[in-house]
Amino acid sequence: MQRRMTLWAWLGIAVALVWTLLPIYWFLKMSLLTPDEIARFPPPLIPLDPTPAAYFNIFGFDYQVTPELVRRASGQAGQIINGLINSLIVSIVVTAITMLVVVPLSYVFARLDFRFKQALLITILLSVALPPVSTLIPFYALYVQLGLAGTLFGLIIVTLTITIPFVTWMLIGYLRNLPPVERLARVDGYTRFETLVFIVIPLARSGIAVAAVIAFLFAWNEYTYALVLVNGTPANTLATALSGFLFQHPEPSHLAAALVLSILPPVLVAYFLQRHVAEMNLVDPIR
């Protein structure tokens, strides 16, 4: 490997950054534009007179741009704040339950041999392939009967069906690469359960942390189920609040600001993820 950065490497990084940042920049720019600038055609490449007004507006505050000009709070502010809180609740609860369930599950599949292992594993992995559009109606029908439609609890249950299979599959690969500490633990008299809690989990903490973060991302970004199950109810999430925005032809800067807001928690998450990149080496979970 070359130690020195060549021109090509610089160019490659530049292209990668532009590719990644352009869509985000375009929205960040939009969130900072004044209404006149947004209405202007052609759209400006950079905001000439950037203002954070939209960010105040979507939280329900007026913003004094000039003594004469006040940008009014968004009518959607209640939904945005409500959605933000709901999204946080759903994502945190889903992440917690997912990890509670997935760590023992993937540990068992990664480190033990037992009958029916392959069949069970394939069942779990197959559920990754289910398209949400096919299960929407059955879920909706069930939820209406059980009174779960429009509740956070109902949304949490459905979201778990997305996070559990994927995170299980991911952690199996990671756990399989741990050294064979179980034998040591058996000689020291740890029970199976103690081995998992006191040895394996502390040992695998960085991999488990990455898995938790990925579960959080899935939950935070879930939209299809939320659209049908909680849209327009008090249990709406940030995703549905945002799309509510979209279809009501809102102030574009408000939409952009809300979207930028929805990216912020995952950005912190991305910073965390990249530090643990070396941990995530996949193996074939079936073998």
Binding site: I13, W26, D113, A129, E279
Partner: protein, 302 residues
Amino acid sequence: MAGQVTGAGRTSELSNLQFALLMALPVLLFLVLVVAYPLGYALWMSFQQIVFFGGYRTNFVGLANYATMLGDDKFWWSIWVTIRFTVESVVLAMAIGLALALLLNRPMRWPGLVRTIVMLPWCVSLYGTGIMFSYLATGQTGFATAIAFFFGADRPVSFVNRQWVIEVLAIGNAWNMAPLVAFFLLANLKTIPTRLYDLAAIDRMSPLETFWNVTLPPLRFTLFVFTCITTVLSMKLFDFIFVLSGGGPGTASAVMTYQIYKISFRDLNLGYGAAQSFVLLFLIVGSTMTLYALWGRREAER
């Protein structure tokens, strides 16, 4: 198998199977319930005609819903759109993901910052990506228009049209998925010993030969896995398309998921929607199995 005991007494420890069941059974039950129930329900619906107007009732119509599909042009069109969108998405996501991984694996200044930025799109939700790309690619607000005017053009440049909407969708989808691919490929790249690159340098391999003989072999399994995953994710993708193009213009981007959504929720033809969703499920499972038969089996045997 481990855990068998014959004759001479048994251990007081749990056997592997017992412990595995104890740990896994509750989750498996949950998953089976929340997966098997909707599947069974959808299967039942696909054999019914479900009527809402004039009181809810269902009639058993056998395979009629499936038969209707054969003569439904929109259905065949949606399959073609789905395939086009999926193939473009997967090729783009894998190529860009691999390129990003190779780039990130080089020694560079501020690696943490660059990696964080490159990982960003993965953290943006699909509906968010949809909103972004719709603004980015439409004429009125688009980036292309801004650039074109900067260079003196006088008409908006839009890509959300019948000709290019699928490509816009595929690019947006790839933008979102590529970091996921890159992340796992990078983890893989980190396991390649530097010695191998030294060896390749001693053998005077060209950069292309080095890539082919040193870098690629350990990535092949992950590449296969993610080809499968991106295929599955693309085929079942709904929210992104719903937000970006709403299946339009016209039916230009009406993929199967959109078609099913429209039939079920707009036309309220639940039986027909369920029948189509089974076709989609079979296409998804079928395409991953095809990938496995053509490619994965070879990789797994390595």
